[in-house]
Subunit: 192 residues, 4 copies
């Protein structure tokens, strides 16, 4: 595992999908980076990691947190090629940028995976506003823990002091539903 | 709804369960308070709010976040008495302190509910280290958003500067499972 | 456990809710009976058994399968009285008939529970068109297995040959959704 | 949609995976056939249809119900080739036979899909002991309904009278758990 609290090495990719230009970690300095590392035929990535990454993209303000993907294939290379990944991203409606980890000739393990010290997929890296790896998680992590850590990272200023974080008071979903007052709904029991 | 960014009024209760003494918000100053307001026969409280409160109690470090409940009954008063609540807390294995909101003779709405301006159950209030209401949510809120907000509150220092927050690097659940390397598990695809 | 393939003993109840008259198993002869035995403060009953009973009431044709409940309290008797049960059925929107199992003075175990040989809650009994117990399940059972067994019971004729069962071809939910053909929805990938 | 209550046309496939020989519907006469039609990059197939097919394979006695798959690709043909399907079946631990629907040169729609009148994926066909299509469902169908229909089909004899169906009394999962009697578990409240 790549040591925490050290700068994340730059990603080495062969191509980026969902982005007209190459994405570098450096260019995102000042924001918290949610780097989701996956394989399209990894069941836990599809059932857990990807829906979570999509939730993250929909939950955190874009000025604070950027979600990007890294398709890091270490098995079934033929099945998980660029064409297949494009179809996958289309069907699963993934619109955040996804880099294709650079294959290595001598090994089945691609280059960024090796440099980041990933142990498999799904892996999640959280990189702080200063570019340092603050979480490196292999496997499944629950939403509340993850939100808690991201909230703390968002609250940090960069060493330049340019960080901004504000707590957006949550909209009350319950109010947008028309509920009868005589009984409880699936969402709440409402006081008249 | 009680205005945000103002000090939370003290809870007015007839009794506390799961606590040998009365719990006051003031006594918890310096910590983030997760105040879960519910009724034991409110379906959304039982299916969503309570499991979330229990997850919160298990997720956040106790030196940073305190979870307490408020049983705030505004309907079916006879069915949701203290005896019933005790049985409920026992069967649902709730061990955090739960206050019983003080009934008012003239009205079905108990006193804390009225003072806090709750609109029904479940309601969640987040109170910051300085005792101010920072979130007041009626209905269901998802874990990631909630974790995000709590993470930011945890990161704040009190006006006295006594707050402490550290990001605990997440244990990797995947590593504690014995997984074969030849195929993917439900949790991950592991690199040899 | 009451022996299977023998006639079910008649229920002994103190009262029926959601029914203007007392319900007897005998009066339902000719239909398959889905007898859901529960306690209102039993967590597994609330999270699993009750939603399943409500799904059953909504799934099986009423001329074939009748869903009824039996509130069979063997603990926390004071908390789970008739008033509390009425509030519970109201809030959880249970509209099928629910009998209150007859308390016994000398014991905490009510009479039908004893005669049926129930081991706890939730318990599910399936009674065939001839009045015989064909399934007696304590705990949780999954929907597919349960549907499979009920389907077979529905297909049986009574000894008088009055049973009727027809397979209703399933409506295709997917067709009722307006889906674009250019991509897959959460429900399906549609051929143009 | 292929008319119900008529014999199902034989499948036309280019190859079978998870089977040393070609599988024909005719060879399965006398059993109920659960024919699961899918594409490996169809999200609803992966999240709903496939887990359901795997549950079906684990639920119904093999002498009564046979589960087979049909990979019927009408989009992203290049991404969903045989190599990719093999990797997919391996990673998702699918062990039932899966036929690859025969491509047609002039059209993107493969031959069995056309002959069966499928409208997309996932599609589920239930074929009775006599080889007739009894359910043709496009999209998602819930487990209880599905079990109910299969239970009725299982109960039917073939026109030769060779069908056999017995209701296996469900094992009581709750009994296999060691539960304390002083409180309720997630599975049940147990009587001492």
């Amino acid at each position: 595992m790549y040591p925490n609290h050290t700068p994340a090495p730059e990603l080495i990719t062969s191509e980026w999908l969902n982005s007209s230009t190459s994405v570098s970690l450096k260019s995102l300095r000042g924001k918290v980076i949610f780097l989701y590392c996956f394989q399209m035929l990894c069941p836990a990535c599809v059932s857990h990691g990807l829906p979570q990454a999509l939730r993250a993209a929909g939950t955190f303000p874009k000025q604070d947190v950027v979600v990007i993907g890294l398709h890091t294939v270490f098995e079934h290379h033929q099945a998980m090629n660029k064409t297949a990944l494009q179809a996958f991203l289309h069907e699963y409606r993934v619109t955040f940028p996804v880099g294709i980890d650079m294959p290595q000739q001598a090994s089945g393990v691609p280059l960024s995976m090796q440099q980041l010290g990933l142990r498999g997929t799904p892996s999640l890296l959280l990189i702080d506003r200063d570019g340092k790896v603050r979480l490196h998680h292999f496997g499944i992590i629950d939403d509340m823990k993850l939100g808690h850590i991201i909230g703390q990272l968002v609250a940090e200023k960069t060493t330049n002091g340019t960080g901004t974080s504000t707590i957006k008071d949550e909209q009350n979903l319950a109010t947008s539903k028309s509920e009868t007052s005589t009984t409880c709904s699936d969402l709440s029991c409402r006081l008249d």
